[in-house]
Amino acid sequence: MEKWYLMTAVVLLGLTVRWTVSLNSYSGAGKPPMFGDYEAQRHWQEITFNLPIKQWYFNSSDNNLQYWGLDYPPLTAYHSLLCAYVAQFINPDWIALHSSRGYESQAHKLFMRATVLIADLLIYIPAVVLHCCCLKEISTKKKIANALCILLYPGLILIDYGHFQYNSVSLGLALWGVLGVSCDWDLLGSLAFCLAVNYKQMELYHSLPFFGFLLGKCFKKGLKGKGFVLFVKLAGTVVASFTLCWLPFFTERAQALQVLRRLFPVDRGLFEDKVANIWCSVSVFLKIKDILPHHVQIIVSFCLTLLSLLPACVKLTLQPSPKAFRFTLVSCALSFFLFSFQVHEKSILLVSLPVCLVLSEIPFMSTWFLLVSTFSMLPLLLKDDLLMPSVVTTMAFFIACATSFSIFEKTSEEELRLKSFSVSVRKHLPRFTFLPRIIQHLFIISVITMVLLTLMTVTLDPPQKLPDLFSVLVSSVSCLNFLFFLVYFNIIIMWDSKDGRNQKKIH
């Protein structure tokens, strides 16, 4: 690549922004007794380092599961153990059993932030750069601009480097999976994705498109010949990688079951805090949590999720293509986020990742979505004292997208990928030509609402009777936006092949 230096500059800029954000506060800083996710990650280092592997997921006198008990899959635990070894080398106090609880210091913060940066640098960032280099049919300059926008996506930066989590690991592995599967390295791709799932169970949001896409590939090659061989190979890879990750827990039945119970805490509520999904938004008017019994809630949420993602997944299985795969990843993850059981506000990052992948194809809508997704985490970010970095990185991201894709000029039906949809609607409604304009207006309304709500949340005190007024408003507004995006992405997916055929005719 002749412009490698610009790509290097982009990566360095991304790293600089990440590190400057990490100078800010983290979740639960100086807030005993529970602290926040930062303490959770530190606590996991303490647990995995000091206790034998068999006790990691079990409640004991040394491992109080009520206090940030380990509830992520084994790979996270191994990662914590690795970090703990480094911590032990630098300062054993950081991970001393019991006595290190709630440990906070400048040096420790620096260490924790550095572990995130290193993980990011090793897994997520190379995947993004590779993805942008592999993009087809666009100029080198656009590839670099694309990398800049993806690396500046504020949601991930703020959660990983502000709030404190290791999402870049699981998302990065998933991205490697997407890359592998799209480039026909199916085995490596599925291996990477299995690792992602074993790092964070939330990656299951992405699993159905992966399954559908790979199954579709097998079908395409013919189930009796090569397709069957591929299928067996894939199944073997998946089983092998899962077995490897879970090996220490397969010694006893109780072990594996306990881990599963920790990973999928079905006895927790339908949703937690204020999430921008259907259940939380509906609860404003209708207290579902109280009306429906617990198991009915699970069934209803499961059915709705399945219903909303089924069409896209079926279509992907029947007509597998890398492009359709990326779009299906978006709609599927969005369905999970909106309808499934026990969703966190941070789970929106799982939708944002595939949206980043389609940034170059539908820049206007992707930018819009990514802005909304960051906005939907506003209450969380405010709680962590991250207002300043949030505003700054969001503006930087917006400017980067606006200048590198000139998004405001790309709002025609063609560029919104709505051509074939509009054509088919026009068969019944000949005057249906106003869709792009409606979308433009919706964008402006949405942005203005977000800005106003942010200003209100920051400056005004909520009325005493409704202390959660602003966070509920934020989540409901975001939820409305997300519903709109769900419809939009499903339309794109369902009308996609016609679009392709039309284009072929033209050429």
């Binding site: 600089t16 400057t20 620096l110 300059k141 990185t393 200048t403 000139s406």
Partner: protein, 526 residues
């Protein structure tokens, strides 16, 4: 929507670059800040709460007001905004006060006043006559120049981490240079006079301004061979120039003259009681001189030529003390440095007078003045290298030879700023930003001049690459060795000597290029 698309279309890249770096500056708000933060807070308090007659006498804090009056007025103006943020920071006796609102106000005051710098860069970019051939935006000289100036590593860390107000001051300087390029001489002279009364360090480059304006503005025409035509001297122009400078000075110093405080003001502005070198040696000629002295004294001790009892103790731990005693070589007095500086400046001034080459020649002379005074000045700060780096950026996009000098000067000069930031959280920032700027500047200028001979020879490449291992040694290896307690000054010493070599080399090369380059007229014909 239409308005938005206009905003983001066409020439929006400059806006995006400027906004981007502004946002980066906002992200740097929570970083470490040096005592200069307290210095400026104290000045806010002094100018806000005391009458003018006390400004240059007040000494509650050790950070007394030692900038010229315009800067004091600038702080006075700022203080009237500051009172809406936090009244407490305006109390003279509130030493080392830094509430979060104070921090926010001070940081934002730097970011906002940088608007002038952005405007100046915009004007400078207009003056660059680039090759018209290249279509690619990222290869246009204008684009490269604006990145080099707006995203300048040195300015970012000195202003927005270390904390100073260089941004708008350099804005004034670049703006006045741009005005001279645009043939608006009076405006340029006025801006420079104002600048001098903001910060007197710019006196270093005043000779270039004086001679250039006299030679190319007061004399309205040249003989065909470029030599001076004495009968074209315009008295009106000279008087109007003089009047401008006089009026600006009167406005600045007049009140203190009326109060009969001028000697006090000057004693604050020019403190000659400080040592030859700053605590951390700026990478100039004296750093090499000191290092040579030290090497000679060690050799002398080994060969028993020197008596160990006669060697002053402090000299062995220098780098940490202000007063440096030379053991072998003669000690240096302020007068010597002054003479050295003058001798170093003179050739470039002569060149500007006898071989005028328009604004570019002026710019060259200005950079030489800045560099020469950096090389030989008394108590030079490492930050003063920016005075040469920023104007040099303007030259760098014009000619391959200048680009090569610029890159050596900038890379070493920027590296020599590293000791300003010594705290652990800022370590990744300075390394990342430095890499970002260095990789961009080298690669983009290489792309720009790819058709000409390579920018560096093997020796220069080797030298620049050596900065990497040096940084690794100073920051990552040295702290874990046993020398850390015994010789804590070694990293600083190595850094300043290593950088001094590069900067001296760049200074020398620039001087050579001034004398050997063909005059403008001839190059145009080619």
């Amino acid at each position: 929507m239409a308005a938005l698309s206009v905003m983001t279309g066409g020439g929006s890249w400059f806006l995006a670059l400027a906004l981007g770096v502004t946002l980066l500056k906002c992200l740097l708000i929570p970083t470490y800040h040096s005592t200069d933060f307290e210095v400026h807070r104290n000045w806010l308090a002094i100018t806000h709460s005391l009458p003018i007659s006390q400004w240059y006498y007040e000494a509650t804090s050790e950070w007394t007001l030692d900038y010229p009056p315009f800067f004091a007025w600038f702080e006075y103006a700022l203080s009237h905004v500051a009172k809406y943020f936090d009244q407490e920071m305006l109390n003279v006796h509130n030493l080392n006060y830094s509430s979060s609102r104070t921090l926010l106000f001070q940081r934002f005051s730097v970011i906002f006043t940088d608007a002038l710098f952005v405007y100046a860069v915009h004007e400078c970019c207009k003056c660059v006559d680039g090759k018209k051939a290249c279509k690619e935006l990222t290869e246009k000289p204008k684009f490269i120049l604006s990145v080099l100036l707006l995203w300048n590593f040195g300015l970012l860390i000195v202003d927005h981490i270390h904390f100073q107000y260089n941004g708008f001051l350099f804005g004034l300087m670049l703006l006045s240079i741009a005005r001279l390029f645009q043939k608006r001489h009076m405006e340029g002279a006025f801006l420079f006079a104002v600048l001098l009364h903001f910060k007197h360090i710019y006196l270093y480059v005043a000779p270039a301004y004086g001679i250039y304006l006299l030679r190319s503005y007061c004399f309205t025409a040249n003989k065909p061979d470029g030599s001076i035509r004495w009968n074209t001297f315009s008295f009106v122009r000279l008087i109007s120039l003089g009047l401008t400078v006089f009026l600006v000075s009167a406005l600045s110093l007049g009140p203190f003259l009326a109060l009969n405080q001028l000697p006090q003001v000057f004693s604050r502005l020019f403190p000659f009681k400080r040592g030859l070198c700053h605590a951390y040696w700026a990478p100039n000629f004296w750093a090499l001189y000191n290092a040579l002295d030290k090497v000679l004294s060690v050799i002398g001790l080994q060969l028993k030529l020197l008596d160990p009892k006669k060697i002053p103790k402090a000299s062995m731990t220098s780098g940490l003390v202000q007063q440096f005693q030379h053991t072998v070589l003669p000690s240096v007095t302020p007068l010597v440095t002054l003479i050295c500086t003058l001798i170093a400046i003179l050739p470039s001034i002569f060149c500007l007078w006898f071989k005028p080459q328009g604004p570019r020649g002026f710019l060259r002379c200005l950079i030489l003045c800045a560099l020469s005074s950096f090389m030989f000045g008394w108590h030079v700060h490492e930050k003063a290298i920016l005075l040469a780096i920023l104007p040099m950026s303007l030259l760098s996009v014009g000619k391959a030879g200048d680009a090569s000098i610029f890159l050596i000067l900038t890379t070493t000069g920027h590296y020599s700023l590293f000791p300003l930031l010594f705290t652990a959280p800022e370590l990744p920032i300075k390394i990342l930003l430095m890499l970002l700027f260095t990789i961009y500047s080298i690669s983009s200028l290489k792309t720009l001049f790819r058709k000409e001979k390579p920018l560096f020879n093997w020796m220069e490449t080797f030298y620049l690459l050596g900065l990497g291992p040096l940084e690794v040694f100073c920051e990552f290896v040295f702290p874990f060795t046993s020398w850390k307690l015994k010789y804590p000054f070694i990293p600083l010493l190595l850094t300043s000597v290593y950088c001094a070599v590069g900067i001296t080399y760049a200074w020398f090369k620039l001087y050579v290029s001034v004398f050997t380059d063909p005059p403008v007229g001839k190059t145009k014909k080619q």
